[in-house]
Every structure is written in C-alpha cells, then in structure tokens.
C-alpha cells in the first residue's frame, strides 16, 4: 500500500506525520519512506538513515553537431519550451529550459542532434533501523522538480508499506508525488490559511481520484471552520494533534514525535489501521 502525505499549506506537519507514521509501523510492517519534497527534503533529519547509495538525476538535453547542422530551424520550431534557438549560423541551447522530451533530436532531418545528460539533482537511498529510505534533492538553481520526483518513485517497493512525503502546494510537484497512491493524508491546521489551502489540496486529490483523509495539527489555535468544512464535505479527520510547545520543541531538534513522546505510537498505528480499512473497503466496493 502507498500512502502519500500532502498539505496545500506549508509547515503544517507533513514531515512530522510521515516520519512518525513510518517509525510507528516499522516493528509490525515492512516500511519504506520516500521523501518526494525534493526542493526541501527534511525526513532524513528525523529518520537519520545511513545513506549507502547516491545517484545523479539528469535529463537528456540536446547537443548539436555543428558540422552536420544546416540551421534549418526545425529543432527550434518543434521545441515547446524555447530551449533551442537558431540564430543565423548558430544554434543556441538552454538546458535549464529543456524538459528532455527528445523531439528535437528525433526530428532533426540531418541527425545533427544527440542527447547528453544534464544533471539537475540526485537521489539517495539507505536504511534506518529497518525502514528503507529514499529521497531526492533538486540542485540549487535548477527549476524542475518533477523528473527527480519520478526518479524517487522508481524506488517504490510494492512489497512494503510505502509512505511518500510531498512538497506543499497543489501544482505539478505535488501531483507527481501523490499520483498512484492508494491513499493521501492531507495535513492541515485549523486556521484561515490552513483551511484555504486544504480546500485547494482536496480539489487536487479529488481530481487524481485518490481516497484521502485529514490530519488536523495544532488544534487549540485558530477556529472551528476547518472541522466544519470536513464535516460538510464528508472528509474523515483521522488524527488530531494539539498545539503543544513540547511537540514543537521536539520537532525543532529533529526528534520525531513518536520518539520524544512514545505514547503517540499507538495513535499513529490506529491512524494506519483506519487508512487500511478505508482502502480495503474501497477495493471491495470496486470488486462488487
């Protein structure tokens, strides 16, 4: 089973939930934790894995053989991203704009374009006390996160309970992280910002057709509007975490909640059981 953790608004506790869930399940299940927030990955700070393998992630970008090139302009014409320009007798390429679709090299009538790898980040894998761990890291100055997220997701081991941590927001990196999940946990807080962004996140997971539920973090601040919204929309609130400076302090030191306060383990196991029930119920009703 693949469970993704997403949020809309940043800083609501995705990493806290993903890391605590992984640590609470590792004694009972085979667990894999994949951090797909490749712009700002943080799960490793809490899980402290032994990283045993690192691999560069690159996308294939065009390299022009000027001897063969006739400057016909076909490559620039077919590139949807303006990553190639033909000016007079020169071809200019802009690797940071290239999505690596391969159209230019395939369609060049002179076969003057080959593809070379352009490194945009890396993935690292390892283990932490039984948890198989993987994350991606976008290089500084590189704009495109989705190819790295796709690479992290190639690590998915279907034999395991897979927990995927995503970046905040609702755009392409989030969609890339969540799609294909059996369940998505949306972590939010009971504030106007939290609710506004939860509604956007709900629209996103609904569009992807992934079943979902909510974790409400820092209850005690804010208002009751998020709970009212969930009730109205029939969205299950599967876990609530209070606003507690001790929890915040543990987080600030990189200590997972379930290690600093072991009582929370049973709550995260219960959360998992509830998710499992929802997912099983969903697949039963599909079979019917």
């Amino acid at each position: 089973m693949i469970i993704s953790v997403a949020s809309g608004k940043g800083g609501t506790g995705k990493t806290l939930v993903a890391a605590s869930l992984a640590l609470s399940l590792k004694d009972t299940y085979k667990v894999q934790l994949l951090d797909c927030d490749v712009e700002e990955p943080n799960d490793h700070i809490f899980i402290k894995p032994d990283i045993t393998r690192s691999e560069a992630v690159s996308i294939p970008v065009p390299a022009i053989d000027e001897k063969k090139c006739t400057h016909c302009g076909k490559c620039a014409e077919v590139c949807a991203y303006n990553a190639i320009a033909v000016v007079a007798e020169h071809v200019l390429t802009f690797p940071e704009l290239c999505h690596g679709c391969g159209a230019c090299s395939y369609l060049c009538p002179e076969k003057a374009i080959s593809e070379i790898p352009n490194t945009i980040g890396k993935i690292e894998t390892g283990e932490a006390d039984g948890i198989i761990f993987g994350h991606g890291m976008l290089s500084i100055g590189q704009p495109m996160a989705p190819p790295i997220i796709r690479k992290v997701k190639t690590l998915i081991d279907k034999e395991r309970t897979v927990i995927i941590d995503s970046s905040p927001g609702t755009s392409c990196p989030v969609v890339e992280a969540i799609k294909g999940s059996d369940f998505c946990l949306l972590v939010t807080e009971p504030t106007p910002f939290g609710l506004n962004d939860l509604i956007l996140a709900v629209e996103t997971v609904r569009q992807l057709g992934v079943p979902f539920g909510v974790v409400l973090n820092r209850i005690g601040v804010g208002d009751s509007k998020t709970e009212e919204y969930c009730a109205k929309e029939n969205i299950p609130i599967l876990l609530t975490i209070p606003l507690d400076t001790e929890i915040a302090r543990l987080y600030s030191r990189g200590i997972p909640l379930v290690e600093g306060m072991p009582d929370w383990k049973s709550k995260f196991r219960e959360l998992f059981d509830n998710i499992k029930e929802i997912v099983d119920e969903g697949s039963r009703s599909l079979k019917r």
């Binding site: 609501t12 369609l107 504030t191 030191r253």
Partner: protein, 286 residues
C-alpha cells in the same frame, strides 16, 4: 522602483503573516502574491477584485480517435508515459508536442490549456496582483512572472516606490521566477533543524541568482540554541539577521480575524515587524 520578495525554503514559517503586516506599514507600494498555487495573502487584505483575466499557458495533446490507426508510435516515444491505450492522460502530459509532430496519421493536435486566473484588486493597503493556478496545473513559474510583470506596470503607472511580493515555499521553478531580478530577498526562517536546512538551500538560490538576502528568524524563542546557530551561519556568510520575532498566539488570532498582526495589536510581534520594515526600507534605499 524597488522590489522585495519574501521567501523561506521551508513552508509555513510565516511569510504571508509578515508580508501582510509589511503591506500595512509601507507606503506607495504594490503587492504581489507570487505563491500562485496556495495563495493566502488575500485572506488578510480583504481585496475587492477589479480585473480578472484568464491565464492560458501550456498545451495538452489530444488524439482524434477517428484518425488514429493505433500504430503506437506516440506511446513508444513519449518520455512522460502520458499515452496509454491510445489515450492521453492530461495530468501526465508535459505539452511537449513530440507526439503531434510524429503521428503518421496526423491524429494528434495540441490544445492550449486554461491554466488559471490572475487578478488585479484594490485593498486599503494599495493595489494587489494575485493569481490562482488551476488545480494540478503546470507552468506556475510563468504565472508568477506574469504577476510580477503586472505589479511592475502598476508601480510604473502609479509612480509607486515598492513592489512587495509574497513568494512560494521551496527552491524550484516558481521560486526562481519570483526571485530573479528582485532588489532584495527577505528569507523568513524558524529555529528548527528543518528550517535551517531549508534556509541554507534557499540562500544558495539567492546567491546563484545574485539577489542580496536578509533573514528574519520567526518564533526565535522556540529553540534559542538553533536561533544561535542560524545567527552564526548568517554571520559567516555575510547575511544580515534583520529581525527575531517571538512566538506569540496573537499571529494566529489576527489571522482568524482576517487582519494583519500590526493592525490587531501593538505587542512584541508587531514591534519587531515594524523595526524589520524600517531595516528593509534602509536596505532598499541604500
């Protein structure tokens, strides 16, 4: 005309709450919400929308079933696994158009997408340009560039001194688009190990694009040891720590009432943000 953009790397460190207050404190400015996929600034500023425009960007492949001969070439060549059973999954499609160029039956056309909306609004704290990226859409960087461009034009037309932008979390495409060419980046961080890790990466992005940065440590008293490490890191790297804001529930209380902290109270948080804005203004003028 000077432009300050607020970034953070890590999400939820308080960018929008701080920028909302800065909006109230500053004069002759236009506001730009560059967090186009989870915009929140409007919740504090009660805007009335004056202009609404469609944002059309990017394309998606559509296969004409009547023309398709099911040769499978498109599926074989698509690098994004977006075509299965001779049908395009619009969410996976990157809009590169490769398939439309190679289809021997000419059965694939590229259709332009509506990728969101953008707005020009008036608020009692000046004009606000904001946007809403369509759900699960791409091209957030282009929408951010559009929001900034519009804000710049308003600033020129109305002879405003400042563009104040609320940026997105992360370090990827929309962040680069919010940052490049700005006069100053204000990085809002928090004294957590995650916050520090992400701060280092976002400062790296500022350096990469040659934009000077200053740092504000929000909720600094949550972990004073980490606050000290942030200060040390910043000092070593020649980055000014311009403000240290204490943790206080008044930030959330203000948010719940739909107002900024400086309007809500005159407490410790408000005082520190006022001094932060003075420092930002000095930096922008100097």
């Amino acid at each position: 005309m000077k432009e300050v953009v607020v970034l953070s790397g890590k999400g939820g460190t308080g960018k929008t709450s701080i920028i909302g207050s800065v909006a109230v404190l500053s004069r002759k400015r236009v506001l730009a919400d560059c967090d186009v996929d989870a915009a929140d600034l409007h919740l504090l500023l009660d805007p009335s929308i004056e202009e609404k425009h469609e944002f059309r960007s990017g394309q998606v492949a559509v296969i004409d079933k009547d023309k398709c001969t099911q040769c499978g070439l498109c599926q074989e060549l698509c690098r994004f696994d977006a075509i299965k059973d001779y049908t395009v999954d619009p969410i996976s499609c990157e809009g590169c158009g490769f398939c439309s160029h190679i289809c021997p039956a000419d059965a694939i056309v590229m259709e332009e997408c509506k990728a969101g909306d953008w707005f020009v609004s008036s608020t009692k704290h000046g004009p606000l340009v904001h946007a809403r990226l369509g759900i699960a859409e791409e091209n957030s960087g282009k929408l951010v560039a559009l929001v900034r461009q519009q804000a710049k034009e308003i600033a020129k037309k109305k002879e405003l001194n400042y563009i104040i932008s609320d940026g997105p979390p992360g370090i990827g495409c929309p962040v680069i688009s919010s940052l490049s060419g700005a006069s100053l980046a204000l990085i809002v961080t928090e004294p957590t190990l995650s916050g520090i890790h992400d701060l280092e990466r976002v400062l790296g992005v500022c350096k990469h694009f040659g934009v000077p940065a200053i740092v504000c440590i929000n909720k600094y008293d949550l972990n004073e040891e980490n606050t000290a490490s942030i200060r040390e890191y910043c000092q070593k790297n020649g980055v000014d720590v311009a403000a240290m804001i204490p943790f206080d529930n008044e930030v959330t209380e203000a948010m719940v009432r739909g107002m900024t902290v400086v309007e809500h109270s005159d407490g410790r948080v408000a005082k520190e943000i006022k001094s932060l804005w003075q420092k930002i203004e000095q930096k922008l003028q100097g």
